[in-house]
Amino acid sequence: MAAWCSPTGKTDGHTPVTYSTADLLQRPGGDPTPRLVVTQRTSGDSAFRGISMAAGIFVFVILALIGIFLAIQAWPAFHYMGLRFFTTPEWVPQPQHGHPAEIGIAVAAVGTLIIALIALVIAVPVSISSALFISEYAPRTLFGVIPFKSLLTSVVDLMAAVPSIIYGLWGFLVLEPHMVGISRWISDHLSFIPIFKVAPGTSVFTGSSFIAGVLVAIMVLPIVTSICRELFSLTPLAEREAALALGASRARVIRDVVFPFSKGGMVGAIMLGLGRALGEAIAVSIIISLSFVHNFRILSSGANSVAALIANLFGSGGKLGLSGLLAAGLVLFIFTLGVNTVASVIVSRTRVRPS
């Protein structure tokens, strides 16, 4: 021990000196406050931190810009229609036959919700059971060589990566002709349920909310599945094994361990799916025949959705029409933003739970 590090500065060189932590932290003058650790950043570091932070803040700015610019462009429509923008069903951006121009998203907003709900009703059970299969039932390998589990996971991811236009093309040319028969069957046999009723004598079943909903369900499936699968695989091993040791079958493990642990996350996953279903434009706009009358008969032709409205009517309807579409976009933006933010908070809360 060198003399300079003794608390008193005095040592005879033979007696071992012991130091407490407090001694070591003490400054030479006997001041008990710990010494300050000063980080001296190089200029390179300052630049690096500045650039990264600028990038982070730029992302912030982009989102703000989206809101601001859409609001600016949408202002004429809001100004012209006022709050009636949300309650007007028609979309007549230019005066016709003496009627003043009227635009509103009442039908589109309700239609968006209808399609999204149909999609979720179909997608959620299928997604959850697929996720359960992948995480609980699927063997790791098939015949000892095929990595079955990771293959299934990849297939789910691939489904999420397939462009929506391809789903739209397939849905329009293949799914719709096949779905018409099912629609007719449902309307014939299940019409005692009000939503499955169609107007008497209806023969056209194409372009309905139901078919669009089925297609959107197919597109939502991989998203909900992959999040749910991850949540299920996060179930603590100890609880699983405890249940198994008590003699539970896999079905019981799922019911009593996996589900209770991932309940919150599943709600989040479903909401993320809802976010996607609400914003889907292309596939829906290919399928539906746009109508501006409230249509709660989901099987009969005629549907509407905000995103599809924008995709279909862009470039028509002059200044007010454009402004109205941007206003509709703003509404969609704010709504999906809310849904997605809440959903991601829920999912991430489930994710970080210690296992």
Partner: protein
């Protein structure tokens, strides 16, 4: 989930009397997971009887039609039969477990079926038109309707491929550096702003693609007109959160020891990030970027109002409308001419193959075998992390 614990259904076993050792009572072990050949036969028989039963009801009694309805009803009947049979043979617990197993298996089949049908359909309808000619020619000559009795010039998708490549390339050029820098900010620097930025990035990853399109329309296209540049910007807005979230997940699992070791050697932070953190996370970041590109290639909605579409090759990214593959498919589907629809199929096949290639590339770069042979073992973890971040990726 893997467990070596032997499971058996506990049954009421009479307590062993204290006097003298006695042979423990024989306990019948029931393991629902044991799947013997006879069980496979059981599944087969059940399927067969379900199909027959439904056929009788469906075809003979109620005169219903449609493949889809048949399959659905068969599935339900199968499930009921399977449960009842297993209950008779093995008891309630096994029956419940097996029925659940059958149910989730059906779920995964329901999920995979659309993909298989879709890809099969694309190949059947699109493959015969796929040729070198298609990939190298444009729709230019097809503008004039060809006189009767003459063979028309087959349209191609070259112009659309050029457009898509340029727009996606431009989006990558903007979105990827920004995304990686943002991820570095979130994970390496942090601070007061990190949490709000993280929330914003997450919120952006749910941004409907069409909103990105009209946003770029309202700030760029209104002033400068349609161009590939605007389309690239819109794609960059969609690419950014994908890359950021994927990269952040990857950076999170870079071991902190590496950073500390680098700092202990006296490296400034930028040096640590540049020479230690980023190289460690390279494969994961690459996976994130490639998955982002795979999504960006297929976006249609943002291009509708930004690149507008064109029938001729426009090499200039910054001037005039450009074509793009997804947009070409969109207009083809909306068109009523059968030749257009045929071109749409083939374009969709080309687009799918492009997406698929990028996707497979992303998987391979993070796969365990490549990890063993080429790079470190952490590749798989990195790729998984990247995929996790991308999981709730951008929305259409």
């Amino acid at each position: 989930m893997t467990t070596t614990a032997t499971r058996s259904v506990p049954e009421a076993s009479e307590p062993t009397p204290p006097d003298g050792p006695r042979k423990p009572p024989e306990r019948k072990r029931i393991r629902p997971r044991d799947f013997k050949p006879s069980d496979t036969a059981l599944v087969g028989i059940t399927v067969l009887s379900a199909v027959c039963a439904v056929w009788i009801i469906f075809d003979q009694l109620t005169l219903l039609s449609g493949v889809f309805g048949f399959i659905v009803v068969t599935a339900v009947v199968f499930l009921v039969l399977y449960y009842v049979l297993n209950r008779q043979l093995f008891g309630r617990r096994v029956a419940a477990d097996r029925a659940t197993g059958a149910l989730v298996t059906m779920g995964v089949m329901c999920m995979i079926a659309p993909l298989v049908l879709l890809v099969g359909y694309l190949f059947v309808k699109g493959l015969h038109l796929l040729s070198w000619h298609l990939l190298t020619s444009t729709q230019n000559k097809v503008l004039e309707s060809c006189p009767a009795g003459q063979t028309c010039v087959q349209p191609g998708v070259f112009h659309a491929i050029v457009g898509t490549a340029e727009q996606v390339g431009f989006a990558v050029l903007i979105g990827v550096p920004l995304g990686i820098l943002t991820a570095i900010f979130l994970n390496e620097i942090g601070g007061r702003f990190a949490q709000p930025v993280r929330v914003v990035v997450t919120a952006m990853s749910g941004l409907p693609a069409i909103v990105a399109g009209i946003f770029i329309y309202s700030i760029v296209v209104i002033h400068f007109g349609f161009s590939g540049f605007a389309g690239g910007l819109a794609l960059a807005v969609l690419l950014l959160p994908t890359v950021t979230r994927g990269t952040e997940e990857v950076l999170k699992i870079v071991p902190n020891d590496l950073r500390e070791a680098s700092s202990a050697l006296g490296a400034p932070q930028w040096r640590t990030v540049w020479s230690v953190v980023l190289p460690t996370a390279r494969s994961g970041i690459l996976t994130a970027v490639l998955l982002g590109i795979a999504v960006a290639i297929g976006e249609t909605a943002p291009l509708l109002f930004t690149v507008f579409g064109s029938k001729v090759t426009n090499w200039n990214l910054f001037n005039g409308p450009q074509a793009s593959l997804p947009l070409l498919i969109y207009t083809s589907v909306k068109s009523s001419q059968s030749s257009d629809v045929a071109l749409g199929y083939t374009a969709a096949l080309v687009l799918f193959l492009m997406v698929f290639t990028v996707f497979i590339l992303a998987r391979i770069l993070g796969s365990p075998w490549l990890g063993r042979t080429v790079r470190s073992r952490s590749n798989q973890r990195m790729a998984n992390a990247a995929a996790r971040g991308v999981g709730g990726g951008p929305v259409n």
